[in-house]
Amino acid sequence: MRRHLRDFGLGALAAFIIVTVAFVAFRNHDLVERQTRAANAVVSDALGGRTAMPGSRAVFVSRATPSTKHSFLRRRSMAPAGGPLVWRPLAPGSDPDAKLLYDTATRLDRAAASSGSRTTPARIVELVPDGSGRAIAADHAADHIVIAITAPASPAPYPWVVMLGVFGLGAALTAAGALVDRTASPSGAATSGAPPVGVAWPARLGTFAGIGVLAIPTILWGSVVAATLIVIIAAGLAFAQHRNLTDRFIHGVREHRTALGFLGPAAISMLVLVAAPFVIGLFIGFYDHHHGSWTFVGLSNFGELLSGGGRALDDPLNFWFIVGVTVLWTVVNVTFHVVLGVLLALLLTRPWLRAKGMWRMLFIVPWAVPNYITALIWKGMFEGEYGAINSLLDLAGLDGVTWFGSWIASFSANVITNTWLGFPFMLVVAIGALESIPKEQYEAAAVDGASAWQRFRHITLPYLRPALGPAIVLGSIWTFNMFNVIHLVSGGAPGGSTNTLVTDAYRWAFDRGERYGMAAAEGTLIFLILLLWNVFGKRLVRAKGATE
């Protein structure tokens, strides 16, 4: 009996969340429906000359008289509907809702003007956006405008009684099923050694019915989706009982509870603050945001990106071109990071070197200074004829370079800046690896007469590889997604051709009309590319390691 109620509890928890979400969606929708219907009715009544219902008001608003000096200033007057028409100016202070009436009249006129004289201008019916729950409706009459405002209303309160009742009913059904099961097969209870027996069908029916009952309120609220979800959960739970999945799950949780306890806090915060935004971002990729409105476009954003946007392959706005640039960017940077880091590490781990601490400290500085600051400084150094780099080249007797004029120069500027920023990380990793090499190996090799290159290849390298391996993986992911350097240094110049995937996505979001959908879709593609690369990369490495 206890386990049945426990299983019911699990399913009921999920169902409770769904029911609550369905209710929230319902009650907002319900409020809008109720109020807009009321507003509609009041306007129709006023147009027909009938009186408005109590609590609502109908108002006539005159046509606009634009000021002679400023076309955007218009004067209107108002009169309450029903009764003699007494016009008074619609001005600040004349009525608590004066501005609302004025703005709505303006909107109605504008809608009529844009729809032209072909069709009858549509009525405006909507909730007032001040959160009071009132609805407003506006329509054209003969030579003035009729506006109706309903009384305030609040959304339906949470139906606690209904919920308690339904849950109680559900629990009762489950318990009933469990009782029938026990009375039908007497011995039921398993001994502690034997694996638990699958639950018989009466109990499962009870569980199914118990949770299925929770779908009733959602049906009443008109949410077919929620109802279907709950029924699926109910069926799933019944099935899980058949296969003892719930028992095994609970058993597993209890067995590994210390592990889960240690993992829990980090996992929860990652779920809420990293996984959830990612999922939201994923969904946004299926919508298009254009001038403030969102439309569902399915895979169209992805299609537009993957097809290159209908542009040539060497056009900077072609997705594949940007992929190429990004891959080249990553490979070149990581190579430089590693080479520079390892070279310096070799120098900085010589035992005879003095003031090691000071040298290491100095070489780590690029990592310590905030990178948005140094990116701006580097940009300034590359800029124009008077930038520091060109001045130094000038001193050396060489020609200055228009750094952001050609692709190769602009790309190099980015690479130089990013290498400067990124090599300290590899340096630190390499130093750590080198310091852990036992000195005896070198001494033995020296005794054997090995050359410096042989010593490096057979002693140093095997120690460097396991340390650098993960560092390279991490470093390449960071470089692939590096935003600050490209955005602040070259800014994509010339012509957007040094944009990487991340900066291109940023441009979609902020420079090309706030197409957040496209930006989100590109972000998802970035993630997929990295994921695929990682998966295949690991397979490759494993295959290579197997053959060696």
Binding site: F262, I280, W352, T374, S391, W420, A433, A446
Partner: protein
């Protein structure tokens, strides 16, 4: 290994090489330093890293700026940055240590998946998570709050820290814990009294990384904080750079001050840095 090393000429060449490399690498930093002490709002045309004249005006102006309510903006910003960064360090290290310990020492279903997921999560381009994160924090009521920012920063730092710590934990022999478990110690006590003290290098790295993540971060701080009194240092420094004109002297002064704590932290924790990142990877 020859203790003597290469010939004196060889040594001199190496030192020379190091000096040149240092000069090249530190040149941009010297430019910033120069601008912080040189009068004027613009960068001078000369490429020399030596300031033509020295003034403390930029620093003076930086420290004396007051907000509309009269409080000293820079000190307030520094205080905010310190509080947020230290909190991030504590929370980040706490979360990462426990998670890494679980991934290192326990076997449970989904362990491998958990491990890869910490790596996979690094692959999300974080600039694009800004808007969804805003919506979520708004829903949780954590906008414009120190707690919200600390949580976000800690979570950002977790993947790298867990990776580092797990590697280090893996390299510690399990016999120590076995002995303690036989003696009847609980898992939590083993964690606290045996693992943590032994893992100082890795924890130092984790702490430094968390601190740096929070201290240098600009985009999230400027988007989520709407109260001027809650601004952190990077946000304040960026506000000296507007659309039309920038006070580079003020910017450079702010940059110098902002970089100091991280440099100091680096210097103090140096010896741990080297051991902490790689020990696990090498020995494991």
């Amino acid at each position: 290994m020859k203790r003597r090393g290469p010939s004196p000429l060889g040594q001199i060449l190496v030192y020379l090489g190091l000096i040149i490399a240092c000069a090249i690498i530190l040149y941009p930093v010297m430019i910033v330093l120069k601008k912080a002490f040189e009068p004027g709002r613009q960068f001078a045309l000369s490429a020399s890293p030596v300031p033509s004249s020295v003034t403390l005006d930029h620093f003076r102006e930086l420290f004396s700026q007051r907000s509309a309510t009269g409080e000293l903006m820079f000190l307030r910003g520094a205080l905010n940055s310190i509080v947020i960064s230290l909190a991030t360090t504590v929370v980040g290290v706490a979360l990462s240590c426990t998670a890494a310990y679980a991934l290192s020492r326990f076997k449970f279903p989904g362990r491998k998946a958990g491990l890869t997921s910490f790596l996979v999560v690094q692959m999300f381009p974080s600039t694009l998570l800004l808007m969804p994160l805003y919506v979520i924090l708004n829903g949780l009521g954590l906008l414009n709050s120190t707690i919200g920012l600390v949580l976000v920063y800690s979570t950002t730092a977790i993947p790298f820290c867990v990776w580092t710590l797990k590697g280090y934990f893996d390299s510690l022999p399990a016999e120590l814990e076995e002995a303690a478990r036989i003696d009847g110690a609980s898992q939590w006590m083993i964690f606290r009294k045996i693992m943590l003290p032994l893992s100082r290098p890795a924890i130092a790295v984790t702490a430094l990384f968390s601190f740096m993540t929070a201290w240098n971060e600009f985009i999230l701080a400027s988007t989520f904080m709407t109260d001027q009194s809650k601004y952190t240092l990077p946000v304040l420094i960026q506000s000296t750079v507007t659309e039309f004109s920038a006070d580079w002297g003020l910017f450079a002064a702010g940059a110098v001050i902002t970089s100091l704590p991280v440099m100091i932290a680096f210097y103090v924790l140096q010896k741990y840095l080297v051991g902490g990142i790689t020990a696990g990877a090498v020995k494991g």
